[in-house]
Symmetry: C2
Subunit: 411 residues, 2 copies
């Protein structure tokens, strides 16, 4: 018996049959004694359909206030249908839009941030034994205008509700059954993690394990809401994301997972003056182009000159190269060197905070596999290298092996 906030994404409620299936799961949990608040997204495809309609009406810059009014209908359809499906199974339920439970947000339409939630109606329904069904992704500002949290915001809605309601756990149902030590499509022996810390999850997520919205993980970490990733299609315990407070259990794992990102491209501005302001002079205009920079690296210079290297998404590579090549004289650079055939490979683990030698163990594994390291960066709980894209799979498997992450052979 626990008080749970469960979130089902668009795929999990994508058809009437799937909505009925989710209702069945929820009813069983309710009958087993759990108190349940469900957060749902729009049925898959609905949001895209609504956006397409908006674009047809306003081909230029769409009005964000009205876009939010339009998009909010997607989740409203789902909450009504899921509540009906629950009632049809004899499980009492009640739906709420974001506005109805006063998911108060700021007024940044299409990317609003949650300020507070009104617990009162939800808790009185829970006390009455009802399953409460809340529309994810949406809220309302001080002026009563409908807002949305941006794509994937339903995860954030669920975590915010779990925090406000002081639920025991926030369970995110997805199409994967948990967080893995690495991508099982690259390493078939990848193992589902029973637990992972918020920080590790953030590093894993930003590095390409697209299981959860980063904002939701940050939010869960901030309010210390235990977060669990589960499959909506197959039963199982999933992966629990919490703080590293049970020292014994967590300390054993030095490295929790191997993350990677295939979509990177590297740009080096070579032979620039090693003086204050040069990084800003180069990256300022890049930011203004609305291009996100990932890894940034500058080594100690010689003779007052240095090389400044960073990575961007491959889609932005040509634009960045053209832009910098045109202005290289402005920075006094020798040349602009680029490579869009590289990938980023990382190991993530809170264990490395208290253990030395993890980096050298990583470099040893990659060296043994004959992989050349083009760039190296480190943070508290992550070490990343940039390598030639051809060596990605080899590198993942070598690290997975070296850090003994693989599924144990069944006895």
């Amino acid at each position: 018996m626990a008080f749970l906030v469960k979130k089902f994404g668009g795929t999990s409620v994508g058809t009437i049959d799937r909505i009925k299936h989710v209702a069945k799961t929820l009813c069983a949990a309710r009958k087993a004694g759990d108190d349940i608040v469900v957060v749902v997204s729009a049925m898959s495809g609905e949001t895209n359909k609504l956006v397409a309609m908006a674009r047809e009406v306003m081909p230029g810059t769409v009005d964000v206030r009205e876009l939010d009014v339009l998009l909010a209908t997607g989740e409203q359809v789902t909450i009504a249908l899921l509540s009906m499906a629950l009632k049809e199974l004899g499980c009492d339920a009640r739906s709420y839009t974001g506005a109805q439970v006063k998911v108060l947000t700021d007024s940044s339409h299409s990317k609003a941030r949650i300020v507070s939630i009104d617990n009162e109606p939800i808790m009185s329904d829970i006390a009455a034994g009802r399953i409460v069904v809340v529309a994810g992704f949406q809220g309302v500002d001080e002026g009563g205008n409908i807002t949305t949290l941006g794509r994937g915001g339903s995860d954030t809605s669920a975590v915010a509700l779990a925090a406000a309601l002081k639920a025991d756990e926030c369970q995110i149902y997805t199409d994967v059954d948990g967080v893995y030590t690495t991508d099982p499509r690259v390493e078939s022996r990848a193992r589902r993690l029973d637990r992972i810390t918020f920080e590790e999850m953030l590093e894993m997520a930003s590095l390409g394990s697209k299981v959860l919205q980063i904002r939701a993980v940050e939010f869960a970490g901030k309010y210390n809401v235990p977060l669990r990733v589960l499959s909506s299609f197959k039963p199982g315990q999933g992966t629990l994301i919490t703080y590293d407070d049970e020292e014994n259990e967590m300390e054993q794992a030095l490295v929790s997972g191997i993350a990677f990102n295939r979509d990177e491209a590297q740009v080096t501005v070579s032979g620039v003056a090693d003086k204050p302001g040069i990084a800003y002079a180069i990256l300022g205009p890049i930011a203004e182009l609305n291009i996100e920079v990932d890894v940034i690296l500058q080594n100690i210079g010689e003779n007052g000159l240095t090389d400044f290297t960073f990575t961007v998404h491959r889609d932005d590579y040509a634009k960045v190269m053209a832009f910098l090549s045109e202005r290289k004289d402005d920075f006094g650079a020798d040349s602009i060197i680029g490579n869009d055939r590289i990938v980023k490979l990382s190991i993530v683990g809170v264990g490395m905070r208290s253990h030395a030698g993890i980096a050298s163990k990583m470099f040893q594994a990659l060296s043994e596999a004959g992989i050349n390291l083009r760039m190296i960066t480190t943070s508290e709980i992550k070490i990343s290298v940039v390598i030639d894209e051809n060596y990605l799979e080899l590198g993942v498997r070598a690290l997975h092996e070296k850090f003994e992450l693989a599924e144990e052979d069944s006895a």
Copy 2:
């Protein structure tokens, strides 16, 4: 320059192109100086689509609270798209759901009645020069639950808004360009009426001229909101529905229109005792079967016996006949006689209140056309006859001619 509430139904906003067309009309009116509140329905077909989804989830009795949550999304989509279309044309606009302008209703889900409306946000937008776009058909009860007014309720929303905002006129845009003296498909010389009274409109509507929702007309009459029916596709003045306060102008028309109803069937319970309670004994059980009775007629009896006649919709005819035939001994009736090949034909006009001889003029016209009258009933402003269905078109044309309702020949 006037303060207008304009309502556009599902067909008028049925596609993105039609929404753009409506926006263009509204912008032109705004630029000409009118202050405008627009009420819109769901895009045509949307409500049916949502109802079908609900039926798939709850094949039995659908949960009305959740059905209202679901259906309310239909109008919410339209208000967002129309507001965008207005902004795209450079006309400032803002959308509101029923809940956002606190269209407070009772809690009768799917057939709620409006109690009050919050003018404040609308009037401040109007003062700022904006076109205000409000979702029709929906409201919110005291508990914050979403309610709907039932099918066609957008007309009622528009009239209620016009009353609350003290607008100069409530304009209902439909696919016809006004109220006609009779159905132009039956009498090609039928003429669009410039004006008609609320009472006449009510009699016309209930008799089969399905232009406006009866409830909306009642509401407009009660709060004295001038109501205008216009075409959303072709320009024109439409038909204004008001009280008969401009005596001179209105008095000339003895009869405003010829209404008819093809879907009637007649049932006679013959030879029953002419005593108190007999009408209730017969119609009570019919009402319990949820069957609506239209004309009811009982003549003076002879020898303590009388014939009791009423009409029902043809779809209910077989059911009523079977029901009564089975129980005729309960009423002590001789026999149950029925006819489902009859129609009702009526003349409507406030003029008949102050003029004698209208009825005999009607009967003369029908007699001249060789039409036999099976039943006759009268009210203050309406005389109805039941005739054989084969004579309907002939009867309509004869009356249209007799009361000089036809389009005047162009000079």
